[in-house]
Amino acid sequence: MKISYREALREALRDALASDPRVFLMGEDVGRYGGSYAVSKGLLEAFGPERVRDTPLSELGFVGAGVGAALGGMRPIVEVMTVNFSLLAMDQIVNGAAALRHMSGGQLHVPLVIRMATGAGRQLAAQHSHSFEGWYAHVPGLRVLAPATIADARGMLEPALACPDPVILFEHVRLYNLEGELGDDPSAWRCDIRSAAMRRAGDAVTIIAYGGGLLRALEAADQLAGEGIEAEVIDLRVLRPLDTPTLLGSVRKTHRAVVVDEGWKSGSLSAEIVARLMEGAFYDLDAPVGRVCSEEVPMPYALPLEEAALPQPGKIVAAVRTLLGKT
């Protein structure tokens, strides 16, 4: 069955709402509008306005309300329309959701899922193109997910809701229209939310990517294969906690790595990946780990500039070639 990333997310929401009365979805325009990226389209009609709840434009307020509702015994799914607006709610996530278990000495916990769209590539300019996955992945107490495949879009919500701690789930805007085959049986998408996944095997170099970067990494790998370079592609999937063993395992085999990250280079998640490889595989590395990230500019609107600012397959290929001394 062909299904889009968007539909996969929607079916996962539908399952969650159907199977657990404690689950509800809330956010700006998730109901009558159908979701700003149409993910929740049709769910209002199926589950009613109490459980598919439109909120006013009050990111701090309704994210905090999600934290409170989780404390009160519900299993809220809060949609923050995009990561850009999540800055307004950051305090409730960092000082509330992430900290309450610890601050209360383990008495409380916050079983909350926050979904948000992330990333650039749609010419939405500086205030609508952020990639702050790395910031959330910095915060103890949170679990951070980045489904990059249709199966993960379909499968990650269930374990996220089962997780007793707050989970941030990033949906990349460039993936919503992605289509692919997915079986009808839950085994086709059942997954854990602790492991990275090898998406392509190879021995010449490890390309590490996540979210919107995965497809570009795979594209680069295909190009490289044409030149006889077999790249192993690892999809991080879970950005916190990082599955370091899988990364190290691959790099110990390939001895070279490139990290792809749509965040601005300095201080992006890619830096942490490099640091982990330094710490765990320094003596296995034949060359410094490369990074292909966004240029350090607020995202420009104009198409050529935006394309130049983002990590593209060509840049990944070039980075791998440099690593292999093939320039």
Partner: protein, 328 residues
């Protein structure tokens, strides 16, 4: 409070009408070129709401400051930003008013004190407060026009900004464009108190209401609010009751409102009601109307040609204007 019609002369009346037509035609073209892929990203049309920008903007002086939202083509144009520069910006070109960096949501013109173009709902309000604080500290008489939608009223930024402006008696005119919807969310599903003037008054900010479909009501009300402000009265708030005829953005399937409701509002469309009135008052003939409209369309066509021909900025310039060139 009576806002009855004021006798404008023929010239000034026709100028108001011409402005609304310029906005309308500009945006229709933008929609068309969006469809053709020349304009991308988000495009939020103001069609139906033209009376607000056209009526309010001329009340502000050259030295005043203006802050707007992502639905700001009309405001930029009324502020005097050349249509060429606006269209080129939407086309992402180097001759755009933000050099192609901003696009539709981020029109700027520092020379005209047009401070953008903000895609964060409510994000412009604190800026407006700060601009007004600067004016106050500099002992200058300028005021700040701050446009925003009624959806922004639910944001914490609204609350903090209204309070700061009122507390410090800053010259901000909060211009709330109440088009009844924030994307798909109707006002009553967003505010426990739907009378926005009552909300404004709870900060001790005087509030007026204008018929946002009537350019004269907009103009009179804005002037009235400004008169009080310019006399040193601190901030004021105007609610412009209006309606957007088009979808929220080019992606909106408009599931949340009834076509009938849209049609009913269209009957109150600011352009045809005002031109009908001018005709009835003998200030406009059909020929004059068509001439104004033709002039607007010609201006738009020229802007499109300009924008299309303009170059993109070279990719080598990508890193420009992130910080100042000189090292501090």
């Amino acid at each position: 409070m009576s806002l009855g019609p004021v006798p404008y002369d023929k010239t000034s009346s026709q100028a108001l009408l011409a402005d609304m037509l310029r906005i309308r035609r500009l945006e229709e073209a933008a929609a068309e070129w969006y469809g053709a892929g020349k304009i991308r990203g988000y495009l939020h049309l103001y069609i139906g709401e033209e009376a607000v920008a056209a009526g309010a903007m001329p009340c502000f002086h050259e030295g005043d400051d203006v802050v707007a939202t992502y639905r700001e083509h009309g405001h930029a144009l009324m502020r005097g930003v050349p249509m060429n520069a606006i269209m080129a910006e939407m086309f992402g070109k180097a001759l755009g008013c933000s050099r192609g960096r901003g696009g539709s949501m981020h029109l700027f013109d520092a020379g005209r004190r047009f401070f953008g173009g903000n895609a964060i709902v409510g994000g412009g309000l604190p800026l407006a407060v700060g601009l007004a604080l600067a004016a106050q500290l500099q002992h200058e008489a300028r005021v700040v026009a701050c446009f925003f939608g009624e959806g922004a009223v639910a944001e914490g930024a609204f609350h903090e900004s209204m309070n700061l402006a009122a507390l410090w008696k800053l010259p901000v005119l909060f211009c709330c464009e109440n088009n009844l919807y924030a994307m798909g969310t109707a006002l009553a599903r967003s505010e426990s108190q739907t009378d926005l003037c009552v909300k404004a008054e709870s900060y001790q900010v005087p509030a007026l209401r204008a018929d946002g479909m009537d350019v004269v009501s907009v103009r009179e009300t804005t002037q009235q609010a400004l008169a009080r402000m310019r006399a040193g009265g601190g901030p004021a708030f105007v609610e412009y009751r209006t309606y957007r005829f088009r979808a929220h953005s080019m992606f909106d399937p408009e599931l949340y409102r009834d076509r009938k409701e849209v049609e009913a509002w269209k009957e109150r469309g600011p352009i045809h009601t005002f031109s009908a009135r001018l005709k009835a008052e003998g200030k406009l003939t059909e020929e004059e109307f068509l001439a104004l409209d033709a002039r607007a369309m010609a201006e738009v066509a020229a802007a499109v040609a300009f924008a299309d021909a303009a170059p993109f900025e070279p990719v080598s310039e990508l890193g420009r204007d992130v910080v100042a060139q000189e090292e501090p």
